[in-house]
Amino acid sequence: MKLIFEQHKEGRRGFTYEKADVPDAKPLAKKYCRKYDTNLSSVSELDVVRHYTNLSRLNFSVDTNFYPLGSCTMKYNPKFTERVASFDGFSQLHPLLPQLSGGGMLAQGALEVLYEAEKLLAEITGMAAFTTQPLAGAHGELTGAMLIAAYHKDKGARRKYVIVPDSSHGTNPASAAIAGYQVIVIPTGRDGYMDLNEYKNKLSTETAAVMLTCPDTLGIFNPHIKEIADMAHEAGALMYYDGANLNALLGKARPGDIGFDVVHINLHKTFATPHGGGGPGAGPVGVSGHLVDFLPIPRVIRRSDGTYALDYHSHKSIGYIAPFYGNFGVILKAYAYMLRLGKEGLIKAAEAAVLNANYCRARLKEHYDQTFDKACMHECVFSAARQVKNGVHALDIAKYLIDKGYHPPTVYFPMIVKEALMIEPTETESKETLDGFIDVMIEIARLAQSDPSAITRAPLNTPVKRLDETKAAREPNLRWKP
């Protein structure tokens, strides 16, 4: 498709403002003004609407396609939450209003949403308190790492290391590193769990924290989790919970009860807010009692008269990590979702998510290898190692699935599984949808033996064929030029 800039026609307008209703002011001195105009396109409103509408049709999305992208929890995003977030009372609200004197009463509804959402998240995860400020999961990790640093500093120690398993999300070591920590990576043992001996060897009084995903990125609940937490605590280290996979545990286990001290939640995963093609997300962070004082300011509090207010009085707080109170629009949708599902609904969501993943695993395990043959939780990880023998790689399988109208699973992650295919169906998909997908996966496994080129030449039904990524990286073309 043409770029919007390639549809430019001099003199055409897509939006105009009414004539200014104020008298002309003295012009701004030239030295402050731009010399060169922008090259933004001149197009009509219809040009713009048709252009972006047609672009949207080139995407797979949850509303149009099954989207079993592992670790991303692409469940259905209920429509009513979109409507709620668009209410003027929320969408038009300036974030500084409650910071004006006498302004606290101007945003009571919004503050209540934040306060109540924090409370629900705390109960769901078993943590003492939450901050809604982190703007995405990785931002939550960074916030968590800074909370951990503040905690140790307060105890008079500057610990150096953060431990992560080699199966962790890339964001975990990246977040620890930019917070100033050195990262120690623990390999996965033959049993599919983090190598406990190696962990014991590396754990020391210089360990600030152990960052884990639970269930882990193989979709497995580690039975040694309590032991790992106890050992960390004995060494004076804190336990960090990466909440990417919380969907499996709703009402079944709580990070706080397991012994985690800091938790982030991806609201755009477990709590059904749409991922928007890459964002916005939201990554609220919960902490156990001994870390509450370090949470970012301001905190939302409920006063004895039932009104809500912002509290800046925390001398141990790590400070500001976001301009305001987090991605409010996202938190609001997640709050609406939690209210709608309630206790039973949340538990049922976890159950159906785990049921769906195990159903996929059961039907596919004859056809694909599993590096670690274990019952899974909310997602199952296969390897295309068997198919690779015939020249069919995980990437080829992904492309063939696209031709068949399915968004591929996550491929090549976790890195500890060769040719990984990570399938997370989520609870909102029906048996019929899963069967359709599984049938194609089985067809791929058969074709890989009988006619591998049928897979490797995919995709054929897409707007573009396989793209030259090497060229993209070697000769970066990152913007249109006139």
């Binding site: 403002y17 105009d37 991605n327 064929k465």
Partner: protein
């Protein structure tokens, strides 16, 4: 209600295929001792009930006030076509475009967004978005530290205090030395910069217009910064770039800013849009996703996520940033907004903001006891000195139906009587006259 489609018969069949007798068996790996100690969540509610509840909460927020509060976050008009596009589920229910063949719409839209940001800022390359203006500034700072191998950062105190505070929070455990340059008569002090600029400086951080609304031409500062081998980083208000000298024209190395003014609702603080553009030689140090154009196996143009060896999913602890999710949907808003306005619309928008703020300055300066600060030109926000504590005035003005501005005493010592007033294109002549009339009445 969990939006689960399973019938009891489905569940039975699926359990049969798995080879277990009940769903509980699927959770047997969770030891009994680790089951929740409590799960005290209220029962679920109907869609109508939840909607009613949130409708009530929305009504408790005062959005009826005529808004003159800006301070970095502005009440601009959003064309309906922007909402229509971002409300297409093919956009908002997709994930990050990892698989380019089924994400060309998103990838092309981001490529167009990157172009818009480059055009506005006059720089070469842009990424696919960051969380907000503050985190974008922090990421730019980290780029400068990596690129120069130095650790001294000189920050102008005309940079939004919230952003400065965020920078301090993020770098608390790193060995970074900050020097703050005072603002003199609303503008950054060249003499002070001269005193602190040396070979230890990794970067100088400026904002235009600055927090007080003052417009500057930083070309001279940037020239000095480059003499010492440091980077010039700025935070910019994108709507102002329809009129004001661009960061590229002033020689900045990295431009960042809050993109909220480009078609994104105020929404009580987020989701917003951090943008970043830079000179092309810095691209391999940039954080976050970047989309590039390439060709497919048949030579047809297509788009992919590129230069990914910078990123956390490949480089892990050695990545340029930990960012994964960004603010793509807000970036789409910005791209659609900019496309609708076009070159002329953007100029018109900027001009309206300037003209209306100048008109407001004239009207307010007629009020006895009110002094409009005029030591520097401004764009659409300006500072006034009041005869009383600004907090009191703001409080009284709320009763009159106005959110009349942001009291500067909250952020700056000794400025208790100062008020920061923003006038966007949305404010009519009547609004402005109303503000002046009411202000006169409450003083």
């Amino acid at each position: 209600m969990s939006y689960i489609p399973h019938t009891p018969e489905d569940i039975k069949q699926m359990l049969g295929v798995i080879g277990v007798t009940g769903i509980d068996e699927l959770f047997k790996d969770i030891p009994a001792g680790l089951r929740p100690r409590s799960f005290d969540i209220p029962a679920g509610k109907s869609e109508a009930e939840v909607t009613r509840h949130l409708c009530r909460l929305a009504a408790k927020n005062a959005t009826h006030l005529v808004n003159f509060v800006g301070a970095g976050f502005y009440d601009h008009f959003i064309p309906a076509a922007v909402d229509a596009i971002v409300n297409r589920p093919e956009f908002y229910t997709a994930y990050t475009p990892y698989q380019p063949e089924c994400s060309q719409g998103w990838l092309q839209a981001i490529y167009e967004y990157q172009t818009v940001i480059c055009e506005l800022t006059g720089l070469d390359v842009s990424n696919a978005s960051l969380y907000d203006g503050g985190t974008a500034l922090y990421e730019a700072l980290m780029m400068a530290v990596r690129l120069t191998g130095r650790n001294k950062i000189i920050v102008d105190s005309g940079v939004n205090l919230i952003y400065r505070t965020m920078l301090y929070t993020y770098t608390k455990n790193l060995s970074i030395e900050f020097v703050e340059i005072p603002v003199v008569h609303g503008q950054s002090s060249r003499t002070e910069f001269g005193k602190h600029l040396d070979e230890k400086a990794a970067a100088v951080i400026l904002q235009n217009p600055n927090f007080f609304g003052a417009v500057d031409d930083y070309s001279d500062v940037v020239e000095q910064v480059h003499k010492f081998g440091a980077l010039a980083i700025g935070s910019f208000y994108p709507v102002s770039l329809g009129k004001l000298k661009s960061p590229g024209e002033m020689g900045f190395d990295i431009a960042t800013g809050e993109g909220q003014s480009l078609g994104i609702p105020l929404s009580f603080g987020g989701p917003y849009l951090g943008f970043m553009s830079a000179k092309k030689e810095l691209v391999r140090q940039m954080p976050g996703r970047i989309v590039g154009a390439t060709v497919d196996s048949e030579g047809k143009r297509g788009f992919v996520l590129t230069l990914q060896t910078r990123e956390q999913h490949i480089r892990r602890e050695k990545a340029t940033s930990n960012i994964c999710s960004n603010e793509a949907l807000c970036a789409l808003r910005a791209a659609v907004f900019a496309s609708l306005l076009g070159r002329e619309g953007l100029k018109e928008l900027a001009e309206h903001n300037y003209q209306k703020a100048e008109f407001a300055k004239e009207e307010l300066s007629r009020i006895s006891g009110v002094e409009v600060k005029r030591s520097s030109p401004t764009f659409n926000e300006f500072t006034v000195q009041l005869p009383h504590h600004a907090d009191e005035v703001v409080y009284r003005m709320i009763d009159k139906g106005f959110a009349c501005g942001f009291p500067l005493g909250r952020y700056y010592k000794g400025m208790d009587n100062y008020l920061l007033i923003a006038v966007t294109e949305k404010r009519t002549k009547e609004d402005i006259l109303g503000l002046a009339g009411s202000l006169e009445a409450v003083l």
